[in-house]
């Protein structure tokens, strides 16, 4: 395995690329997911609670 104490080393990854565990990618995707959820909640407020009907003209 290309890890030492849970940390993936360059030498280990070059020796065995398939041991690569994309933990950083998972972390970034979780951050993105949290942003998405926050934005959805925001849109919920905009759509259902923030506005009355706008009638132009």
């Amino acid at each position: 395995m290309g890890t030492t104490d849970g940390e993936q080393t360059a030498a280990g990854l070059l020796e065995d690329p398939k041991s690569f565990d994309p933990k950083g990618t998972l972390a970034l995707i979780l951050v993105y997911f949290c942003i998405l959820v926050t934005m959805w909640v925001y849109i919920y407020f905009v759509e259902f609670l923030g506005n009355d009907l706008i009638v132009v003209g």
């Binding site: 940390e7 993936q8 360059a10 990854l13 070059l14 020796e15 690329p17 398939k18 690569f20 994309p22 933990k23 950083g24 990618t25 972390a27 970034l28 995707i29 993105y32 942003i35 998405l36 934005m39 959805w40 849109i43 905009v46 759509e47 506005n51 706008i54 132009v56 003209g57």
Partner: protein, 618 residues
């Protein structure tokens, strides 16, 4: 040598990512230009066509931005729609498609490691595309002058009742045929390779090109029908009316998958070039293939999600389109994972550590890398606004507002356009043997594009939530004021204008850099190679390469999604419609009124004078 992108993963002795060797007999010593000079010339010609369209389109972009925000209005608001049409057509049809046929030609020839079957045929499709787009473009630009009775102020979404001069549709048809022949060229080249290599897996880049081509054929079938059977005859006066709902539906049949036609070359670059620039390797070849198959299947049967507010299409059909659209999120999320993981591998190999610390070791000074990464980041933001667009109920909140414009400036305007610009910094030396004039200017340019778009697109989204309409020269009304969210209307306008100006500056930097690069002399040592995937094609099930099967299923899904709605539209409104009179209808109405008013007045006046309001007057 044969394409070995699918060979088992191996590690180079020097500790760097291994090379797939398709750059030449001695890996890394030959550029694409050295190895395939004829194909390189075609790719360069397509890129130059794209950059010309980009120059014109972005110029119109800044004029529009300043006009609709009220900062500067040197032209009349009537001309705004000519600018808008030109901006849309030059950028999303001409810039994107000319660039992508170049990327696809490069990727196919490079990955198959064989030249195109017949270069004359390649020049023929390029000539058709250029001729067609020139005709269409000139027809639009003629709208600025009244000296000739030619115009096409129909916007990029050129469905009825807006009507253009026949040359607009004719040019589009010729352009479209050019793209079809380009696809045929790629397929012929692939089939020639297949005869030479009957037992090999399709190289990944070629697989991406071939699946996208099939998707394009499926998508454009409806556009061809719309143009040839309805819009062009209508414009020529051969038929009097068309069914507007039908032409809208046929347009959006094409109008959504065209988004993926723009996006797939960006994905191709993210999957196969970006990891190598980062010093990494594609995480998974099989996942990449699955993603392209999913786009082939799901890109087209979703177009009705652009028509949630169209009367004349049953809610049930719209619901089917929404469901398909939500499935379409899957391949994009798979891409986010695969591409970021591939880049993370590069960062780890470079010595990056920590949950986020690895990001610091990436080559951020490389404009090609930074540009593509920022493009991907913007695409993630566009993913959110796209989900809002796709939801049937929540779409009503932002339908036809400038939110939608903000959305597609994140997707095609950044994910695609910024990737293409960034890729130019990597690809141009490969196809010309000329080094980029200034990589520093390149880096500044991609960062500026990101910053300008962040400002402009965010403000557009916020304005959309306030109900500010899109496609409008003067989006204010007397006696009505927009509310405020993240700043008032005026403040957001300022953000749009500043963002648009930064984008224009970025475009000027890009084009200047390209022009100055063209002045460089050819040199050696520019060859770049692409690394093999960590999980190669040997891990991918063979069925993934059965493009005939996936193409068949794609057609079936399209029939399921569209047969009933189209039959219902035709049954309700007729093939050539109950209406669809050419715009400007209001002028026709005024003419009729002027013609009939005297008679009406003469007939009705005695009743009126005699107190006869009940005789039918309001």
């Amino acid at each position: 040598m044969t394409a070995t992108a699918d060979a088992p993963a191996a590690t180079a002795d020097d500790g760097t990512a291994p090379d797939d060797g398709t750059g030449g007999s001695e890996p890394g010593t030959e550029t694409f230009y050295d190895r395939f000079p004829e194909a390189a010339r075609i790719v360069r010609a397509t890129f130059l066509g794209a950059f010309l369209a980009f120059a014109v389109g972005t110029t119109f972009g800044i004029i529009q931005t300043l006009h609709r925000t009220g900062i500067a209005r040197p032209f009349s608001s009537v001309d705004y729609y000519t600018f808008l049409t030109a901006h849309g057509v030059f950028l999303v049809l001409s810039f994107t498609i000319f660039f992508l046929v170049g990327v696809f030609t490069w990727a196919l020839v490079r990955s198959l490691d064989r030249p195109l079957v017949n270069t004359r045929f390649s020049w023929a499709w390029y000539g058709l595309m250029a001729t067609g787009m020139t005709l269409t473009g000139l027809t639009i630009l003629a709208g600025f002058t009244s000296a000739v009775d030619v115009s096409a102020d129909v916007l990029f979404t050129f469905y009825a009742p807006l009507q253009a001069h026949p040359l607009f549709y004719g040019g589009l048809a010729v352009f479209l045929v050019g793209t079809w022949l380009a696809g045929l060229d790629w397929w012929r080249t692939f089939l020639a390779w297949r005869r030479e290599h009957p037992d090999e897996r399709i190289p990944l880049q070629a697989f991406m090109v071939l699946t996208t081509t099939i998707m394009w054929y499926v998508a454009t079938s409806a556009l061809a029908i719309s143009v040839l059977f309805f819009l062009l005859p209508w414009s020529l006066g051969l038929i009097e009316t068309v069914n507007p709902t039908l032409t809208r539906t046929l347009f959006w049949f094409f109008g959504h998958p065209v988004v993926y036609f723009w996006l797939m070359p960006a994905y191709l670059l993210w999957y196969t070039v970006l990891p190598s620039i980062a010093g990494g390797r594609l995480f998974s070849d099989p996942l990449a293939r699955v993603v392209f198959v999913l786009f082939l299947l799901l890109s087209t049967p979703v177009g009705i999600h652009h028509q949630y507010l169209d009367p004349g299409i049953a809610e049930g059909f719209k619901f089917v389109a929404m469901t398909n659209t939500m499935f379409l999120l899957l391949p994009s999320l798979l891409t986010a994972f695969t591409v970021v993981a591939s880049v993370e591998y590069g960062a780890r190999v470079r010595g990056g550590t920590g949950l986020f610390g690895w990001l610091r070791t990436l080559p951020w000074r490389d404009p090609a890398f930074t540009g593509m990464m920022l493009a991907g980041l913007m695409f993630a933001a566009g993913g959110f606004s796209g989900m809002v667009n796709a939801g049937m109920n929540i779409n009503y909140l932002i339908h036809n507002t400038i939110w939608v414009t903000g959305h597609f400036h994140l997707t095609v305007g950044t994910a695609v356009a910024l990737t293409f610009m960034a890729a130019t910094y990597w690809l141009w030396p490969q196809i010309t043997n000329k080094p980029i004039y200034s990589r520093q200017i390149g880096l500044a340019q991609v960062v500026l594009w990101f910053a300008g778009m962040a400002l402009m697109s965010n403000a557009m989204h916020a304005q959309g939530l306030l109900g500010v309409p899109r496609r409008t020269a003067e989006p204010t009304y007397s006696g009505f004021e927009y509310g405020s969210a993240f700043g008032g209307y005026g403040e957001l306008n300022l953000q749009v204008a500043i963002g648009g100006t930064i984008l224009f500056a970025s475009a000027v930097l890009f084009l200047s850099n390209v022009v100055l690069t063209m002045g460089n002399s050819r040199t050696d040592g520019l060859a770049e190679t692409l690394a093999e995937p960590i999980s190669g094609s040997e891990d991918a099930p063979l069925v993934l390469d059965n493009i005939r099967l996936w193409g068949g299923i794609a057609v079936l899904l399209v029939l399921l999604a569209y047969a009933l709605p189209i039959v219902a539209i035709v049954q309700r409104g007729g093939l050539f419609g109950p209406g669809g009179e050419a715009y400007p209808m209001v002028l026709d109405a005024l003419a009729i009124l002027a013609e009939q008013a005297p008679d009406v007045l003469v007939e009705r006046m005695p009743d009126v004078l005699g107190g006869g309001w009940a005789g039918g007057w309001p």
